[in-house]
């Protein structure tokens, strides 16, 4: 991971900034900056979904943002994040929408999404996606789910700082930079 070398450079920049404003002001900032790796328990049980729906969600996030040369949504724990959000963040209406929406995806797979082949799984999600983004599409669950997966992934450390670029303390704004010097989209 290249994060550590970035962090060292950044740390120097911040220390300079801290010195500039007289020492103590941003010391707390510095502390939070160098200890920023999120811990995730891979074996945690779902807090909200049934085990069956949790597994379904895990498969879906993995297909929507797969592992490539960088971690995908499954490694980033996006299914766990959505489960946590349903347990602690969502209103009852949202909770019902997600439970019923996932049931509907199982139904579209002929009863069990897990039981069909990976190729057919991908085809089904592509179909749901096409339906959700069609010109005359109404309020379709898959669009919400995909939006939530993208949010969960690109706000995770894997998505924001490994797949994309994350800069906690830029230090300055430079208005014209060759894209190749940055190489990827900013996640913020």
């Amino acid at each position: 991971m290249t994060l550590s070398s970035n962090l060292l450079t950044r740390r120097k920049a911040i220390q300079g900034a801290v010195a500039l404003v007289g020492g103590t002001v941003a010391a707390a900032q510095l502390g939070s900056l160098v200890s920023s790796v999120s811990a995730m328990d891979d074996n945690s049980l779902p807090q909200f979904f049934s085990q069956r729906q949790f597994s379904l969600l895990e498969q879906i996030v993995d297909l929507v943002i797969p592992e490539t040369d960088t971690p995908g949504a499954k490694t980033a724990g996006v299914h766990r994040f959505i489960d946590l959000m349903m347990a602690e963040w969502a209103s009852p209406e949202t909770q019902v929408r997600y439970v019923e929406g996932l049931q509907e995806i199982d139904a579209r797979a002929g009863g069990s999404f897990s039981a069909i082949s990976p190729n057919r799984q991908l085809d089904l999600l592509a179909t749901l996606d096409a339906e959700a983004y069609a010109d005359d599409a109404g309020d379709i669950f898959f669009k919400d789910l995909k939006t939530f997966i993208l949010f969960g992934y690109y706000s995770s450390e894997e998505g924001a700082a490994i797949e994309l670029k994350f800069d906690r303390l830029p230090g300055a704004y430079v208005g014209c930079v060759p894209f190749e010097d940055i190489g990827r989209s900013w996640s913020t």
Partner: protein, 592 residues
Amino acid sequence: MSAVCRSRILGVRGQPDGVEDLAMAGNAGIEFDAIVVGSGISGGWAAKELTERGLKVLLLERGPNMIHGKDYVGEGKAPWEMPYRGRMNEELVSSDYYVQQDCYAFNDFTKQFFVNDRRHAYETPEDKPFTWIRGYQLGGRSLLWHRQTYRWSDLDFRANKLDGHGVDWPIRYKDLAPWYDHVEIFAGISGSLEGLPQLPDGKFLPPMEMNCVEKEIKQKIEKKFPTRKMIIGRCAHLTEPTAEHLALGRGRCMSREECQRGCSFGAFFSSLSATLPAARLTGNLTIATDAIVHSVVYDAANKRATGVRVIDANTRETREYRSRVVFLCASTLGSAQIMLNSTSEYFPTGIANSSGTLGRYLMDHCMLAGAECEYPGHEDEYYSGRRPNGIYVPRFRNVTEKDDRFLRGFGYQGSAYRPSWRRGNQTAGIGVDLKSRLRKPGPWRFRISGFGEMLPDKRNYVWLDEKKRDEWGIPILNIDCKYRGNEDAMRVAMAEDAEEMMVAIGLANVEKFNHDVPPGLAIHEMGTARMGRDPRTSVLNEFNQAHDVPNLFVTDGASMTSTACQNPSLTYMALTARASATAVEMLREGKI
């Protein structure tokens, strides 16, 4: 001493170790030289200017104490370090933040600086919603503002007189110009010198940079429309701190664009980063937090305000504080509420309301009309850092280009940018293709959105409902205000002019927009205790001094006679500094 639950008096250095029992100060009968109500942008300036001129000042804040840096709990956090990545519990938002959630800056990183709507209710007629965005804490909304800072000009100060809407401002640009200089130098305003009469230059720190596409668009627009300009935004950020800024512990802007979470670098101007530290250095400042001002106390025999009545936010005990002069800086609607609630035999409808105009002529800017489009090319160019600022197109309508569709005018704020991964929400695609597409930023886009002047109108007003009271027993505010024909026509023009400019410089697929949002959401609410030349038609004179009560000053947005189209905070600062200097002079000369 049960100090924890009581309003807190913070000592001269403002640290919590100076906590005293509020009752002691009240009972001891201390008379301060000045009481300043509210600690936001205006109150901070009043505290600074009055203490620096030797007055003993009591600053009252209705919300809790905030310590610069320490209480910026969301600052510097990555999304994955927040429990819900910056989102707030859906049910909590619907039950407690149903108004505040409409503010662009409201989220889990910043929620501690916004009021709880359930506890701080107000009412509007069913068909006239008004969005009242508030921050009750030491520093007020100076912690939340958007930091755009533009001088007003005589185009603005003469506007009412010229077309007859509202009363004439009792001041002109020359009266305020030295005070703009004064506040800009201390606050630290970055900007470019442009020589535009309708948007006077100021004492600027170096301007922020435009990105490559903005630079190109600027050239094209200015070539196609010789009387229009596109400039970098002027904003209250330290691009190059002076010795004075550094001495107060402030530092250079780090380009995080997370300002509303709090900035422990003190890089943007707020009461906590700038004016209150300066006021504390004088040794003349006492701060009481959790102190809700119920009303101004009036002595009819001597025709003076003698102080304020305060309710302890935590214990609900009431106290009176006495002073020789009172400055109301509680925000436009906050000051209006206090004044309307300050009734007496002499002022049955609210203090200093012999004109009957108190509470009337409420205004906000009209906004959220403009256009956006893709800007082809430059795919090999990007930017680094997050500029907490955009570009500005100063007003041209009814300045250099006459427009008969409406009176007065608007300016545009906007930027050129490359969309992030969020564009993935709007387009079909999944899997490896989606992931690799979102790894790169999207094609450049350009967006501008107008902020337009709202005409003063007597029908836009606020009043107190004696039958409905908040948990502190204060009658709740009713807001009866709406945009009318001139604003509607202006918004149409904002969208059309923006579209026309983009098309004229060769851009395709321009999408104009015109969102119908309630007033208040621009968070530039102004009026209700307007300045004017005639005591029969205005509440305040040219020094923000109540015509009826010579030792009462109102220097926040309530005092505004019209709105111009520029963001108003810089003008509140200048008016406050000017009124403070005047009040001190009057006190010295025994005039008040």
